[in-house]
């Protein structure tokens, strides 16, 4: 018997996870769809990428939570731990739902909600104001063009890296701690972001010449997104407009690689914690 990975056992786990959590998944899908529609309506006038990113990432965290948050329920967790499947299979099953299924489904849902539903509603509104009516198809096409026009590196930093940070951190905490997992997760996340800001500050002070970098109050640069070295904001003077600074491509790539390595370490740590989880 292959003790590490067996495809049959893996599919049994996938099936089991769906059977036990499908209501929670449909609920999550409904909540994300609702939020996407609201965001799409709001974003007619402003950028809400941060909100999209957080929705995307916290949705992924919720999926992780459905896997590993029942440690205080001894009956349930003992049955899960002693289920004849390896720790690797259980971990991969969590990634299957949390990454492989979730990311494509979220993107499809995003397109569906944002560009079909919202613009469908707007179309009906425009019927009452025919002078402002663009053709429906051109509206949809322009939205797809907007999506495609943004460089992939933006999605990588804003969405993918943020998602992996939150999900891997969430996974470790859900596995490691029995109680108050959500609170610990939020505190850890805040600590992580503060640390990130300090590191960013040190790095920026040493790597680029900001004419007024030293007047940044701590935490003023709300870049939030891990590894967002692409665009640093600074005040040329108090009350003035924000300026943007760009790092060189190799620095940005190196930064992205470092963050990806950090996430891989987080995931490996989560995987090893499953095997060592005691009740």
């Amino acid at each position: 018997m292959n003790e590490t990975f067996n495809i049959n056992r893996f599919w049994l786990l996938v099936r089991r996870q769906w059977a036990e959590n499908k209501k929670a998944y449909f609920l999550l899908w409904g909540m994300i769809s609702f939020a996407l529609i609201i965001l799409a309506l709001i974003s007619q006038n402003s950028d809400v990428y941060l909100a999209y990113s957080l929705l995307f990432s916290f949705g992924g965290c919720y999926l992780t939570k459905t896997f590993f948050s029942r440690w205080t329920d001894f009956g349930r967790s003992s049955f899960f731990i002693l289920l004849p499947a390896s720790g690797t299979e259980k971990f991969l099953c969590a990634l299957f739902y949390g990454i492989l299924l979730y990311i494509p489904l979220y993107i499809l849902n995003y397109f569906f909600c944002t560009y079909i539903v919202t613009y469908g509603i707007l179309y009906f509104i425009c019927l009452f104001f025919p002078n402002n009516l663009e053709s429906f198809s051109s509206q949809i096409m322009s939205c797809f063009h907007t999506f495609a026009a943004i460089p992939f590196s933006f999605y990588l930093v804003v969405f993918i890296l943020t998602f992996f940070l939150l999900q891997s951190l969430c996974m470790i905490i859900m596995i490691r701690f029995k109680k108050n997992q959500i609170l610990i997760f939020l505190i850890s996340l805040m600590a992580f972001l503060v640390l990130d800001q300090i590191v960013l500050r040190v790095v920026t002070l040493n790597m680029v010449t900001f004419p007024c970098a030293r007047i940044f109050p701590p935490g003023f640069i709300l870049t939030f997104f891990p590894g967002d070295f692409s665009y640093m904001r600074s005040l040329s003077s108090f009350g003035a407009d924000l300026e943007r600074f760009t790092f060189l491509n190799p620095v940005r790539s190196l930064n992205g690689i470092i963050w990806i390595l950090v996430y891989i370490l987080f995931y490996i740590s989560a995987w090893s914690r499953i095997k060592e989880r005691e009740l």
Partner: protein, 235 residues
């Protein structure tokens, strides 16, 4: 064969649960793991199953280390905990989802056990009483036909007819290749089943011997309960 050597375990270093504990359990027996509340019966079962890891010492079942939780080992054991928590589904769906994990699972046996326990297989678990949930889990555990069955306080929420049904089922299920370890403090419920008593007291096994006399008397004598404090037996 379960072998435990020099097992030391604690949840908090100030309070040792086991100190250099040794135990050897052969196949083909129904062991009664007895002890007062807090003696460590559940903890010992958790260690044997691989739910907890020894601080020092070794545990092995047929040469395999439970703490590794290898699938090949896990298909050979089934642990029914005292607290039963089941997902929101019917026993029919439950069996459909989980039977694939246990190669020797027998679905006909499962229906038979549920019928004997008078559990409605089409009723969802959350709508069942604690006793019915426990019976469903015991039915699944027996139908899984694992070589090792660990039952933690299996009778504590069962009514009298269900206890009788449980004893009959367990007796019919048991074969020479199998090993059952029952942890209980309700000695009278299971004394007819148990062939070997393992008594835990003061972080050690103080007795591991075949039962050739009244189990309750044996237990009380082993843990030194004065006769005067005992309530007369119902038998």
């Amino acid at each position: 064969m379960v072998t435990i050597k020099d097992l030391t375990f604690w949840y908090s270093k100030k309070h040792l649960i086991f100190d250099q504990l040794d135990l050897h359990l052969e196949s083909g027996h129904i062991y009664g793991l007895l002890g007062k509340n807090g003696a460590g019966k559940t903890t010992l079962l958790k260690l044997i199953c691989g739910l907890s890891f020894p601080k020092s010492g070794n545990i092995s079942i047929d040469g395999k280390i439970p703490g590794k939780r290898e699938p090949g080992f896990l298909t050979d054991i089934f642990f029914v905990s005292e607290e039963i928590s089941l997902p929101s589904m019917t026993p029919v769906k439950f069996a459909d989802i989980y039977e694939g994990f246990y190669p020797s699972f027998d679905i006909d046996q499962y229906w038979g056990y549920l019928e004997k326990f008078e559990v409605d297989a089409k009723k969802k678990f959350p709508a069942m009483s604690t006793g019915q949930k426990k019976k469903s889990m015991v039915a699944f555990a027996l139908a899984a036909n694992t070589r090792y069955l660990f039952l933690d306080e299996p009778t504590n929420v069962l009514d009298i007819p269900s206890k009788a049904a449980f004893r009959t089922m367990l007796a019919n299920w048991f074969t020479e290749e199998k090993t059952i370890i029952l942890s209980t403090h309700m000695v009278r419920d299971l004394e007819s089943m148990i062939d070997t008593a393992v008594i835990l007291e003061n972080r050690k096994i103080i007795m591991n011997k075949s039962v050739d006399q009244n189990l309750e008397t044996l237990f009380n004598a082993a843990i030194s309960i004065p006769e005067t404090t005992l309530i007369p037996s119902e038998h």
